[in-house]
């Protein structure tokens, strides 16, 4: 009896503990935690990520500058995406200490905190983005602040000049009206010229640890000023590189111009039907390990797999020509601007026309248009640079399928059974003949 009661009490206690654990998990109180925050280079630009305490792996690109910073912040669980988030606005405190990089258990590098800033021109973000570190970061930030100041002053000067211009123009017009003067264009007050908008963007002067390592597996840990290792600071660091570079194409057809597909590899054949126009837009791409690349962007990502590769599109390729060879002919085409003209009336429809700046307002898209005229046609394409050199991994094949001959496939499929029946009949006939002879 006593044993039974003890058992019941134990079970009740266990259930209460379990329920409490769930309640604590669901309504978790914000906690101060040591985390890493990163500004990583993804192959074309810098992005930021957040590595929560329970995430043990960090991925970065090889031989590229990336930044990791050690911070104390409040973290919370966000059930909608099943992720740990940081409340940077509540607490964002840098942690003093050194970042140690280990390989095979040996410390290979001890990093000190450094200043950094990221700047880019908004007119060409991918072409101009730059990470400045150390003294250069301070100088760049000062230069940016000076440029901001100059811009503000120039803007203020322009506003003042414009106000003066407006006053002068009003006075001039009043004078013309009152005195009934005949004036020419030169008599009007000169309108001040507005200086160009400032397109340079910059982050604040931040602090972090600069990481630039060759391909390999490393471990990082954060050593505090008292010589101890910060709890939750030990992480596996995987440095990886692109598997290969290539040229990909965005492919779409005249009849479905808003729905495009990516042709990433040379072995991918582009099949289409006759009397169609295929549009191609080349771009530069790199292939990475799927897990490494996606976890670099989002360390809490769970769907990527290590045994798969992923092509990442980067910059559009311009100033190229496409060498097109048919069975006998060979020609070169360049990129053309197109305008999509909607059909007038209530019926849905459109025409894709070559862009004419005199009669059309904006370019709908720019691409290399290729006509697939007849069934059975085979078109080979390859990109060439401005000097006519063939670009590697840019060759593709377009095939116009003979859709009207599909019946042949079914006819061929029933041939074996017909053959079998013939064999069977012939065999039975032979056996019957043998029996008669016997």
């Amino acid at each position: 009896m006593k044993k039974k009661n003890t058992f019941r009490w134990s079970i009740s206690l266990l259930i209460i503990i379990l329920l409490l654990t769930i309640v604590v998990q669901v309504f978790a109180v914000d906690t101060d935690e040591f985390v890493y925050a990163g500004n990583y280079y993804n192959g074309i630009t810098y992005s930021s990520n957040f590595i929560p305490p329970k995430t043990n792996a960090i991925y970065l690109l090889a031989n590229e500058d990336s930044i990791l910073s050690a911070r104390l912040t409040e973290t919370y669980y966000w059930p909608l995406t099943n992720e740990i988030k940081a409340s940077w606005d509540k607490q964002n405190e840098p942690v003093q200490g050194q970042l140690e990089i280990l390989q095979n258990g040996q410390i290979i590098s001890v990093l000190e905190r450094t200043n950094y800033t990221i700047q880019y021109d908004a007119n060409d973000m991918f072409g101009t983005i730059e990470l400045y570190v150390g003294e250069e970061a301070i100088a760049s930030r000062i230069a940016f602040e000076q440029a901001q100041l100059d811009y503000r002053e120039a803007l203020q000067a322009y506003n003042e000049a414009y106000n003066e211009y407006e006053a002068a123009l009003t006075a001039f017009m009043d004078k013309v009206r009152e005195e009934n003067l005949t004036v020419s264009e030169e008599d009007f007050p000169t309108e001040p010229q507005k200086s160009e908008d400032m397109s340079l963007y910059s982050t604040n002067l931040l602090q972090g640890f600069l990481i630039n390592l060759p391909v390999g597996n490393y471990t990082i840990q954060f050593r505090l000023p008292d010589g101890s290792i910060q709890e939750n600071s030990k992480k596996e660091l995987t440095i990886f590189e692109a598997i290969q570079d290539g040229i990909g194409y965005t492919v779409f057809s005249k009849d479905r111009w808003t729905i495009d597909e990516s042709n990433e590899e040379e072995s991918q054949i582009i099949y289409t039907t006759k009397e169609n126009t295929i549009f191609l837009q080349p771009y530069h791409q790199k292939q990475y390990n799927e897990l490494y690349y996606l976890r670099m962007a989002d360390p809490q990502e769970t769907s990527a797999r290590k045994d798969r590769a992923i092509w990442m599109p980067f910059s559009d390729l311009t100033d190229l020509n496409l060498l097109i060879s048919n069975n006998k002919t060979e020609s070169t085409i360049s990129e053309t601007d197109y305008y999509v003209q909607q059909t007038k009336g209530y019926t849905l429809g459109y025409d894709i026309l070559k862009f004419d700046p005199e009669t059309m307002d904006t370019i709908s898209f720019s691409a290399y248009g290729i006509d697939a005229s007849y069934a059975g046609q085979v078109i080979n394409i390859q990109a060439t640079d401005s000097e006519g050199n063939l670009l590697p991994s840019s060759a593709r094949e377009i095939r116009v399928i003979n859709i009207q001959r599909t019946w042949v496939v079914y006819v061929l499929a029933v041939l074996p059974i017909l053959l079998g029946i013939v064999f069977l009949y012939s065999r039975r006939k032979n056996v019957r003949n043998e029996k008669i002879i016997a």
């Binding site: 399928i401 001959r405 061929l412 074996p416």
Partner: protein, 282 residues
């Protein structure tokens, strides 16, 4: 003496394989299976072409890949089943015991069956190559060099599957038992690989969230598949084909060699089992 014995064994193997393959072609079964597999392959191929007509564009590395894999698997399953049933029946009817009174031992008996099935598959493969080439020509599809590697791998997969069938027949020596165990094993191997492929495509990076329940299913399937992919003829073939299409020759060679090793291993175990268990049916 050994040379004489080897000659006799070789003769016995050839006679047995000739008898078995002739029997197969005298029946209508293999022709029916070929037609069914071609019809299924045709439906899959035409479906892709109809998709191209609707979508106006289709981007494919090897448009014949899925039709050819399905075609090869159906024929291979038929051949492995039939070889397994025939061997089990030889036991049950006592003809195996009779054969051993002649110039035949366990090895020649199994190799005779094995070679006869390979011979039949090679004839089917010839028909498949013809069907493929005519389809490619008539429909203006691309003839990629990798296509011939697919044919080679389908031969290896069939050979491995036939070896599996022979092993099951050798172990159970009973038609019903071997059919049940073989069917269950094949369903498990093919099912896991198929489910893993489908689920891993369903749970795509762009649309899935971290709390997607399919992620757990996918991870479980991926874990099981990571083990059985080294044994399953279907997985080994698909891995090698994908490697060939991606031109990763190290993986292609590794998987192909693994299939060959497993064929030798399966046949050796079958011969050892049949010797150990004797001539009587289970």
């Amino acid at each position: 003496m050994n040379k004489q014995k080897m000659k006799q064994q070789m003769h016995a193997i050839l006679v047995l394989q000739k008898r078995m393959s002739q029997t197969r072609f005298w029946g209508v079964g293999i022709f029916l299976v070929m037609s069914i597999s071609f019809i299924i392959a045709s439906v899959l191929l035409i479906n892709q072409l109809n998709y191209t007509q609707t979508n106006t564009i289709l981007l494919e590395k090897e448009i014949m890949l899925i039709p050819l894999i399905i075609n090869a698997i159906l024929i291979a399953l038929y051949l492995s089943f039939s070889s397994m049933v025939q061997i089990a029946r030889e036991y049950e009817q006592g003809t195996y015991e009779l054969l051993l009174y002649g110039p035949m031992d366990e090895k020649t008996f199994l190799l005779g069956y094995f070679i006869s099935q390979i011979k039949i598959f090679l004839i089917c493969l010839l028909a498949t190559i013809l069907w493929t080439l005519i389809c490619i020509r008539q429909l203006n599809l691309a003839l990629q060099p990798e296509l011939f590697l697919i044919f080679l791998l389908s031969l290896l997969m069939t050979t491995q599957l036939i070896s599996f069938g022979i092993l099951f027949a050798s172990i159970s020596r009973n038609t019903r038992t071997s059919v049940i165990y073989f069917s269950l094993t094949m369903l498990f191997l093919a099912g896991i690989a198929l489910a893993d492929t489908i689920i891993s495509r369903l749970v795509t990076i762009t649309v899935s969230t971290a709390n997607d329940p399919l992620l757990i299913v996918r991870d479980v399937l991926a874990t099981i598949n990571s083990v059985i992919q080294w044994v399953s003829p279907f997985s080994l073939m698909v891995n090698a084909i994908n490697a060939a299409l991606d031109q990763v020759w190290s993986i292609f060679t590794f998987n192909s060699v693994l299939i060959l090793i497993e064929i030798i291993l399966l046949l050796s175990i079958s011969i050892w089992t049949i010797r150990r268990k004797g001539v009587r049916a289970a």
